[in-house]
Structures are given as C-alpha cells and as structure tokens.
C-alpha cells in the first residue's frame, strides 16, 4: 500500500513499528503534492522546510523510544483562514495576500502539541464565502473525481486535498455547510462540531455566531481522533464551552459491535428535506443509506422540521450581517493591503480604495447585503426578524430530538456541479447550502458520511445530532462505513 493511502491509525502503527520513518511519510506527501497540486489547486501554500524539520523531530522521538501521541508525525493540511504563526494566511483574498499570521490559532496550538506535521494551507472561497471554491482570489480548486467539476466550498481545498491523498487529514471551517458540502462532493468524512465545542481563536471570522472549525478525514475513526485532539474550552474564545464528559454518550465500540444497540437507535427523517428540485439519483442514494440502517434494526421515524424552508433566507440575513461587521477590520491601516492612490488621499479614500480593490465580488455582495440589513430603519425588518425565525428553527430541532437520537438528511441536493455552472447566479449558488444552513443556525453537530455515488460522483449522508453528541453521530456514521 502506498504511504499516501493510509489512514491516521494505520500511519501511526507504521511509525511505531518503524515500518517507515516520519520523514519518509512526510516526503511521500510532499512529493505527491508537487506532482498533483498543479491540476487540483488544493494547496495555496506548501510548508516544505518546516514540515521536514517537524518530521525529523518525530523520528528522533521514535528513536529515543518516547511515547507517540496518535497524531505525532501525521501530515495534515489547514484551510487558509486558520492562523499558523509565521506562515501566510490569505483567507483566499487579495486583501490578505501578503499577511503573515502573528500567532497560532488554538486548534493549531493543540495539534502542534500532539506533534502533527503541517504540510501547508488549502484553498477556499474568499473569507469562506461560497459553495464551490470558485470565489478564491487564487484560482478555483478542482474536484479530484472530475477535474471539470467544483470540489464544493468553502473548504474545497481541504476536501480535495484529503480526497486526492495529498494529506492524511485537513481542517476546515463551517458557517453554513462549508465542511459538510465539500466533504460530500469529494467523498470524504467532514464534521461540523457543536457551536462552542472547538475554539474559534485564530479563525478568521466570517459570521461569528455560526462559524466552527472541524476535521475533514478519510474515515470516521480518523474524524474522531482529530475532533478529540482539537476540541477544548479556551479562554481566548468566550463562546467555547467546557465539554461535560459525563454527558450521556454511547461508546462507539458498543454501538458498532452490537446489533442490540442499533436496535435501540431511533433515526429521524424530516420530509422537508426531500423536496422538488432535488437530484433524483441523490435522493435514491440517500434513501438506500437510510434503508441500510433500517435493515440493521434501527427504527426510522418521520419527523417534522416545519420551518426548514425559512432556514436559507434566515441565513442570507444573519451571515452577511455578521460578516459586514467582522470584515470592517480590513481597513488598510492595521494590516493587509493598503491602497493609497494619490498623495492627496485622505482616510476615507484609503478605506474605499483598499476595500473596493481588495475584496472580490461575492465578499462585496455580502458586505453590501449585511450593511443594508443592519442599516437604520431596516434592522427590525431584517436582522431582528431573522433572529426570531432562528429561534423557531432551533425549536423545531429541539422538538424532533425528543423523539429521535439522530436526524438523517442529504448534505446537498446535487452531486458536484461543473465549474462556472452557478458562479454567475448568487441565489442558485446559495441553494446548494439549503440542507446544511439549519444546523449552523441551531448550533448542532453534523457530519457528512460518504454513502454512495451518482455517475461516479460521491454523495454524502448528513447525520445531525443533539448538542455535544459528536461521539454518537460519528459512531452512527461508522455503521454505514462498515455496511
């Protein structure tokens, strides 16, 4: 087996048993990136020297017989909106083209402690705004399954890198589906943790009440390992939550080995997620996956999420509103691009010209929309109304979860679409997130698990859980992986 085809557990065992060195493992990935990244454009920045020196350090650890954390020597990639000290962080934007991160994000700090090896930074829609990675200022990423198609977005570079074996795992961020939708399009596992489970410190903010960092991996087990490593309460993120280890969590081994446990599982399927306009083949693949659980003994229950149709319009107000406030910081004064056109430019000119040229079309569209929704006279009609609808969407899930352990839905209404197919029509593009945004509004954990293919393009099943029940939805996902 090629070194680049291993899972985290397999690579860890190989390192511990000295079947290969951390340097060999790292070099195998760097070589593959050199070879394949030109056609996929998953990586924006490749961190060769640092990766090699990190790998050498791991080999010394092994030689000294020191205990190896499971992620030690494991090469991974990072979405380029997560800060790594002294490495460029562009957020896929011209405005941060030459920005060097002055500190590590909390998730990076944690992964460095576990001695994981940083390969580089991956492509994304500018400031994570988009569903195809076509909004990057540094060119589109392509889907490894079909180079004429998008990898999804906004964590398209991370999903494509995992799918094309350019890294062992990757980090992404998810505001409205940005981990799950590209995971579905690229046939990898992608987890959006519960809001508050993972610190957002060092994540370039898009919509702060919705953003979460999460893993994209080859297997569910790898996903559990990475989530375990990055979750934490952090004094630098006041919305991060101390995870209660005493909460009722099914042991993954129990659930996976025992038919009895599966028999106790109640799975909710909301009819609002099987709508007109959905690709029929995608619907068939999702329904077959649900049937497999039924055959294994799980009880399938129809649940109602009556406010589902309002989730996307609600998101279309809340996300741009928060974005317009968050992106006010790019002013050409503190860091990033500064556009001074003439000697007579005053402060307002610097703002206008820096932001006018530094931001791409989609980012400007959302800043404009958010500014409008928050402007005098419109706040109540738009932002406040959306926040109230958000309560109703959240309550829908609360009621449904009184009856079921998990909710199954499609991740996206279609498989990966063609490059250029939706980029000219913003509303059409937003609709590819129609099944994923509710989860962010309600703050729930959800994972995309590969469950089949349509015309050789991967399709993901979305498993949504109760708050802080990541372990449970991953254990449930593992059943499908083995089936």
């Amino acid at each position: 087996m090629e070194l680049t085809e291993l899972t985290i557990t397999q690579a860890h065992e190989g390192l511990v048993k000295k079947e290969f060195s951390a340097l060999e493992l790292c070099q195998a990935y760097l070589d593959k990136i050199k070879n394949d990244n030109k056609k996929i454009n998953a990586f924006l920045i490749i961190n060769e020297d640092l990766a090699i020196s990190q790998a050498k350090k791991i080999d010394e650890m092994i030689l000294e017989g020191r205990e190896m954390p499971v992620l030690a020597g494991i090469p991974f990639a990072i979405k380029d909106n997560i800060l790594v000290e002294n490495i460029k962080c562009t957020a896929g934007s011209k405005i941060l083209e030459n920005y060097i991160a002055p500190y590590d994000a909390q998730v990076i700090k944690k992964l460095k402690e576990k001695e994981a090896v940083i390969l580089g930074k991956t492509n994304l829609d500018e400031f994570a705004m988009g569903s195809s990675t076509e909004n990057s200022a540094f060119g589109s990423t392509r889907n490894p399954y079909d180079l004429s198609r998008v990898p999804g977005g906004s964590s398209g570079g991370s999903a494509a890198a995992v799918a094309a074996n350019l890294c062992l795992f990757a980090l992404g961020s998810d505001t409205g589906g940005s981990i799950r939708q590209p995971a579905s399009f690229c046939g990898v596992v992608g987890l959006k943790p519960t809001y508050g489970a993972v610190s957002r410190y060092g994540l370039i903010a898009f919509a702060s009440s919705l953003d979460q960092i999460g893993p994209l991996t080859k297997t569910v087990e790898d996903c559990q390992i990475v989530f375990e490593a990055i979750k934490s309460e952090d004094e630098m993120d006041s919305t991060s939550v101390k995870l209660n280890s005493k909460s009722e969590i099914l042991n993954p081994k129990q659930i996976q080995n025992s038919k009895f446990k599966i028999k106790n599982l109640r799975i909710g399927v909301p009819k609002e997620y099987f709508i007109k306009g959905m690709d029929e083949e995608v619907e068939r693949v999702i329904k077959e996956a649900i049937k497999r659980y039924e055959e294994l003994g799980a009880k399938i229950v129809e649940v109602n999420l009556p406010h589902t149709e309002y989730a996307l319009p609600c998101y279309c107000i809340i996300a741009p509103s928060e974005a317009s406030a968050n992106l006010a910081r790019y002013d050409g004064i503190k860091y990033g691009m500064s556009n001074v056109k003439s000697k007579t430019s005053n402060l307002l000119d610097v703002y206008l010209d820096t932001r006018g040229e530094g931001f791409g079309a989609e980012v400007r569209r959302r800043i404009m929309l958010g500014t409008y929704a928050l402007s005098a006279g419109y706040y109540e009609a738009y932002y406040l109304r959306a926040q109230k609808v958000r309560t109703l969407i959240k309550d829908d899930f609360g009621r449904a979860f009184k009856e079921v352990d998990a909710i199954f839905t499609p991740v996206s209404p279609t498989p990966a679409f063609k490059l250029g197919e939706k980029i000219e029509d913003p509303l059409k593009m937003y609709l590819s997130d129609i099944f994923t945004v509710s989860v962010n509004l309600a703050g729930l954990p959800a994972v995309s698990i590969p469950c089949g293919k349509v015309n050789n393009l991967p399709v993901g099943l979305q498993i949504i859980g109760k708050p802080f029940e990541e372990e449970k939805i991953l254990a449930i996902g593992k059943i499908l992986e083995k089936a």
Binding site: V241, R364, P426
Partner: protein, 95 residues
Amino acid sequence: MITKEDVQHIAKLARLSLTEKEIRKFQKELSSILDYIEKLKEVDISKTEPTSHSIEVKNVTRSDEEKEKLKTKKEKLLELAPETKDGYLKVKSIF
C-alpha cells in the same frame, strides 16, 4: 427594486468604492436576494424571542492590566501595519 441612490448610500456605509457598472449590478442582485428574503414575512414571530447564539453566552470580563505575554507581541503586530511612527499606527488625514 432598490434604487441607485440606495446602493451608493450602502456602499458608502460599507466603505466600498464601486464603479458605475457595479452599482447597476448590485441594484439587480441585491433586489433579487431581498425578494427571496421576503419569504420570512410569512412567519408569525409575534410571540418569539430572538436567538443571537445557539448556546447561552455571557460577557466575559478581565481586569485591565498589561500582560507580559502580549507586550512582546506588540512589535510583531506593528510590523504588519502599512505605516507606523514611534510605535503607533499612522493614518492619513481625515480631511
């Protein structure tokens, strides 16, 4: 449809310079997105409280003291600025 003046006003609030072509484009695009958002008016929210975060959040405070750790970062942060003078950020005149 929102007017050209609306778009110009929002662009100024948002501190974005726009070309004439972009103004016309935004007029069309923002209008169609706002039409789509109109859908929220169907929902009865008369008895509903707003949700700002999915989890309960409280303000976190700390005492206003200088931290050694942050002091060493100051130089690093200033290096990122386009223009500085005597340890301060330098900006263009307001007028």
